[in-house]
Symmetry: C2
Subunit: 190 residues, 2 copies
């Protein structure tokens, strides 16, 4: 990938998180990046393609956090999930608590764009599958309350986090995130 394209996507991520998709003008992005006008369509073809590729870049960060959190074999699976959210929360803090790009674009665009709707849903599913693996290990080690379903618990964790991330975005602080995790882990453990 060219440096210009990478720069546009990195800056795009930052601007999308703040402005959302429709409010973000291509002209503004190019001006902020100091990139000539023609290059946007050269690199991306369309604004939609740019937005979808920005989500891919966002997911690279999410996967890096997942890999880091789930790397240590000696760490308990529920601790690994906590660690993932500690990493994510630190990212939110660094951005001034603007929440999650997936939740933001999912809400904004899923009523009008099947492509974004499908993309965001696929991202959530991928994240939930990683949680499910950890939750299955936790269940097999008797660290989950009896009778719970790791797949359903994993989806719930993604969804409740997204709601907490919205509230964190509205309030510009971490407390909705922390409260949600405390509630969730108290509810799923024996």
């Amino acid at each position: 990938m060219s440096t210009t394209k990478q720069d546009l996507l990195r800056l795009g991520l930052e601007l999308l998180l703040k402005h959302g998709y429709t409010d973000l003008g291509v002209a503004t992005l190019l001006e902020r990046a100091g990139v000539p006008k023609g290059s946007f369509y050269h690199h991306f073809g369309s604004k939609e393609s740019f937005g979808l590729q920005a989500i891919d870049l966002y997911m690279e960060g999410v996967h890096a956090a997942l890999d880091a959190a789930f790397a240590g074999d000696e760490t308990e699976p529920l601790e690994q999930i906590r660690l993932f959210f500690t990493i994510v929360s630190a990212g939110y803090k660094g951005e001034g608590y603007l929440g999650c790009l997936l939740g933001g674009l999912g809400q904004e665009l899923s009523g009008i764009s099947p492509a974004f709707r499908k993309k965001v849903e696929a991202c959530f599913t991928v994240i939930a599958r990683r949680f499910e693996k950890a939750l299955t290990r936790a269940r097999d080690q008797d660290q989950l309350r009896a009778g719970v379903d790791p797949r359903e618990l994993a989806e719930l964790l993604v969804n409740c986090w997204e709601g907490a991330a919205l509230r964190s975005r509205l309030r510009r602080n971490a407390s909705p995130l922390d409260q949600m995790l405390d509630f969730y882990f108290a509810a799923v453990t024996p």
Copy 2:
């Protein structure tokens, strides 16, 4: 309020839920409503004022559902909360599961508009206070797990619901909503 203004707000609600705020053009709204151009600014002054008044109209529906759900003295408080969400879910179903307008506009606009950010946060707080009252009654009747805080549980309920509503919007079905409520009520009851 004039009939034209009411019509514009009612149609606006429907279009905002699907399109979001920035994507919804005033010209489109007026054309769909069959209303002449000048009348929009006559009635609302600005698009922002229109959006904020659309949220007020949305909240009228929320308050009607809250009043209906919390009306019966003979109903247990946790059942009343369930009943509220049954009413809300039925509304979502009627719209084709497009989720919650507060979550949608909160995500889309809270990065760029202090007015919308404040408005949506205030709406969530008002809803949470109603839940808190019911949860306090539930606690006083020993229907909540020991040691829980009704105010914190009420905020959690709002937030987890919003995350589930986003996922319901992405999937266009009720299952994230139902799973969240089942999880929540199992977690908070003894």
